[in-house]
């Protein structure tokens, strides 16, 4: 029997959060953590979490499992369980709404701040805008972000300054548009990021790289933005 410990908090009933211990019979199978949660919820319907695609592309079920952020649906027990124990907590650093569900407003606000949409002040052609495969390749490792918040909520700089530091996810998206040859707003984008907090609160801790379930590297993207800001200043 797998020993699962789940963070529980229902603001209508509980004065404070607590950990609930539940034993789960996995039948010896290497299930995903989401499968375990589904088994638990089929018995106790009050256990609350988000989930949608169950294949690691929608970003709904970012959770903290045995101390590390990740997506429950693509985290096999064999990767996370230690000494037959699995501790499931909400993503750290964001307010908890209920059980494993956090309020992601701050995270989304930082995403919106970078104006994550293509800006091009030239008239659109009758067909697509042309882009070479080499230029398109510059977007690889950037556009795949699923907004799961695993990275930003693993980032100490984001914990300390969630209102002012954009955070790894938002900055990855900022660079996705800075790197896009079809975007013409580079100057404005850089000007918006040029303050002591938005970008420069990144201290290269690299927790973001360590936890990203899509294998992306926000730290590298942030490095590129820094370079762009610095070369712009000279």
């Amino acid at each position: 029997m797998l020993q699962v410990s789940i963070y529980r908090y229902n603001p209508e009933q509980d004065s404070q959060p607590y950990m609930q211990d539940i034993q789960v019979d996995t039948g010896g199978k290497d299930l995903m953590v989401l499968d375990v949660l589904e088994m638990i919820k089929s018995q106790d319907t009050t256990v609350t979490y988000r989930r949608s695609c169950r294949e690691g592309v929608c970003g709904s079920d970012g959770l903290n499992m045995n101390g590390k952020n990740g997506l429950a649906c693509i985290t096999p027990l064999s990767e996370t369980v230690k000494n037959n124990k699995l501790v499931i907590r909400p993503l750290p650093g964001l307010p908890v709404i209920r059980d494993l569900i956090v309020d992601m407003t701050m995270f989304y606000t930082q995403y919106e701040k970078v104006q994550p949409y293509l800006q091009n002040d030239t008239p659109a052609p009758a067909i697509e805008r042309l882009q070479s495969p080499e230029d398109r390749a510059k977007l690889d490792g950037l556009y795949e972000c699923i907004l799961c918040a695993c990275c930003s909520t693993a980032c100490p700089s984001f914990w300390w300054n969630p209102e002012r530091f954009i955070g790894p996810s938002g900055l990855l998206q900022a660079y996705r548009f800075l790197a896009d040859t079809r975007d013409t707003a580079t100057t404005e984008r850089l000007a918006q990021l040029d303050d002591p907090f938005s970008v420069f609160r990144c201290h290269g801790i690299q927790n973001c790289v360590n936890v990203c379930p899509k294998g992306l590297n926000p730290t590298r993207a942030i490095g590129h933005i820094r370079n762009m800001l610095l070369s712009r200043a000279t």
Binding site: T45, S52, E55, P116, Y117, E128, R129, R136
Partner: protein
């Protein structure tokens, strides 16, 4: 109970996937007060899982490509019950809609010329089936749905669309004239229930693949729009037509794009034989999905399946080489390693036909206006209600959808709905306000659930429903066996309507949502079952052992399911495209 708070909009879109966000974008740009209600944050909608691409004759791979060839393929793919006026509209408007997405920033893969990369997909041809395989599916690696959905969300952000994220619509509000004047919706975070009033209510709620035990569909695909429409007394069309995607990962159900076969992958049985050469000598692994899925099931039934249980076949990709796999199909490599423990660079992926797409839905015209049929058999527009995307049946997919046509469908008809509603609003929409009784009626189901006690466990009932559909209404169907399935469903109805809700709390109550979703799943399942049993022929995805042939004399038509008396009627297929000659039905071979 006290009166509900009312929120008013010009247009309200239920569903934040590709169709809903494309419709919302159009309306938001027009300046009308528009809101999207989505039960998940929009980028978590199921469009995100679409992989291979969006099929459209943009003439990148082949400069001579012609949308009429795409139209021919789509009509043939539909087994001739796709409406030719709608298919004509989709294929001809498609390029404009795809270029708009590119201009919005969608990171398509590129050719050496800098144009959008297109790959071959199943059922595609040049020159009306005479010119060999076409490559018409525009792709962003194998993450096209993700790229498209995020781009649309970003476009809506730029245009200040109002989003009600993590709100759940429960039922339609109808006024005394039978017009749709909005929906009841729950804010999941607080539990507050409100009446969202609107002059145009657009259903873009997606599919319902979760009626089957084995599906590529997300947990959230519970047919909410179909459930709401049926409960409001509106019919659904061709709901028996369910696509089983040939390549779901065996056991896990997760999708492996047809693009794998487009890039040169193929299916093999336990003897290593490329068996599709026997079933479809010309198109082979790129025949229509219904054809490939049936061939796979036959291989398995006849004892040539792979694995210890012989219950799947293999998709072979290793011969494409690591470079192609990592650049063209990186997401598939990831999924296969995670869910099949197989590295496609070295070994084949175990796959099995898996429920994937609902061809049927709420009947609409090309403007997204929802339709019903009057006693005389004439189409009647349902005032105030629109539908687009998978929940709608316009119908461009008929009895079998071609790969890559779902993304095109949702973009083109999301856009068309938005354009039409903008025009309708400009001309003025007058509808009688809902009375208190009208709103109460729409609240009845939720009130009953909230006041319930006892009943059976939702997860158990859902599993029973899914197994019934899987066993009785799968790839191959048979009258007697379907009747048994229908009997099981009628036993389930009361039990599901009275399912247990232990958790009555307000804050983020997912147990309540799951109980409401189960009602919708059931409505879709029952409509599917009854209509499937009634269609006494084999056409497209609907394959019957007891009626093996297509019967154009009696069934070259849409089925219509009427919820009031659970009857099945017929509706004519449109054979009158505006600018090209009709494609006459002929034998469908690949």
């Amino acid at each position: 109970m006290s009166a509900l708070r009312t929120i008013s909009f010009d247009g309200v879109i239920v569903g934040g996937g590709g169709a809903g966000m494309r419709a919302a974008l159009q309306l938001a740009q027009s300046g009308y007060k528009t809101a999207v209600i989505s039960k998940v944050f929009p980028t978590r909608s199921h469009t995100v899982s679409a992989q291979g691409g969006i099929t459209c004759a943009i003439a990148s791979d082949d400069p001579n490509d012609d949308w009429r060839w795409h139209m021919y393929d789509t009509v043939k793919g539909s087994d001739y019950i796709g409406d030719q006026d709608a298919i004509e509209y989709m294929c001809s408007v498609g390029p404009e809609a795809v270029f708009e997405l590119e201009h919005m920033g969608l990171p398509f893969s590129r050719t050496e010329e800098g144009r959008i990369y297109q790959r071959p997909f199943g059922g595609q041809s040049k020159n009306f089936g005479e010119g060999g395989q076409a490559a018409r599916t525009c792709a962003a690696a194998d993450r096209t749905g993700h790229a498209l959905l995020h781009t649309l969300y970003q476009g809506n952000m730029k245009n200040n669309t109002v989003f009600f994220n993590e709100w759940y619509a429960t039922d339609i509000v109808k006024n005394q004239d039978g017009a749709v004047v909005g929906v009841i919706a729950i804010c999941m975070e607080t539990g507050e229930t409100v009446y969202v009033k609107s002059k145009a209510t657009v259903f873009a709620t997606g599919g319902a693949g979760r009626i089957y035990a084995s599906t590529t569909n997300a947990h959230i695909n519970t047919g909410d729009g179909i459930g709401m429409a049926l409960r409001a007394g509106f019919p659904v069309q061709d709901i028996e037509m369910w696509q089983f995607h040939p390549t779901g990962i065996a056991g896990a159900g997760t999708l492996v794009t047809e693009g794998c076969r487009g890039e040169g992958g193929y299916l093999i049985n336990k003897d290593g034989e490329r068996f599709m050469e026997r079933y479809a000598p010309n198109a082979k692994d790129l025949a229509g999905r219904d054809v490939v899925a049936r061939s796979m099931v036959l291989e398995i039934i006849e004892g040539r399946g792979c694995g210890p249980e012989g219950d799947h076949v293999y998709l072979k990709l290793d011969h494409l080489g690591e470079e192609v796999l990592e650049s063209r199909l990186p997401g598939i490599c990831e999924l296969s390693r995670t869910f099949a423990h197989a590295d496609p660079v070295k070994e084949p992926i175990p796959v099995v036909p898996t429920c994937h797409y609902m061809m049927g839905g709420i009947p609409t015209n090309v403007h997204g206006q929802a339709l019903t049929v009057d006693a005389a058999g004439n189409d009647q527009i349902i005032p105030g209600l629109y539908a687009c995307g998978e929940v709608a049946c316009v119908s461009v997919h008929g009895a079998n959808r071609l790969g890559g046509n779902s993304l095109l469908d949702l973009v083109v008809f999301g856009r068309a709905s938005g354009l039409f509603i903008e025009k309708a609003l400009r001309e003025g929409v007058e509808m009688r306000d809902a009375s208190e009784t009208d709103v109460e009626q729409a609240m009845a189901r939720l009130d009953k659930l909230n006041a319930s006690s006892g009943g059976e466990n939702v997860a158990d009932l859902r599993k029973e429903l899914q197994n019934t559909m899987q066993n009785h209404f799968g790839v191959f169907r048979n009258g007697e066996f379907m009747q048994e399935g229908i009997r099981k469903l009628s036993d389930l109805r009361g039990r599901i309507e009275n399912a247990k809700l232990d958790d009555k709390s307000m804050v983020y109550n997912t147990a309540r949502i799951e109980a409401l979703e189960l009602h919708n799943l059931f409505e879709v399942a029952e409509a599917t079952a009854i209509t499937a049993e009634a269609r006494n022929e084999s056409r497209g995805a609907h394959a019957r052992d007891d009626f093996k042939d297509r019967d154009d004399e009696n069934w070259l038509c849409h089925s219509m399911y009427y919820p009031a008396d659970k009857s099945v009627g017929k509706r004519s297929v449109n054979f009158e495209p505006k600018t090209v000659d009709t494609f006459q039905p002929k034998a469908r071979t690949y």
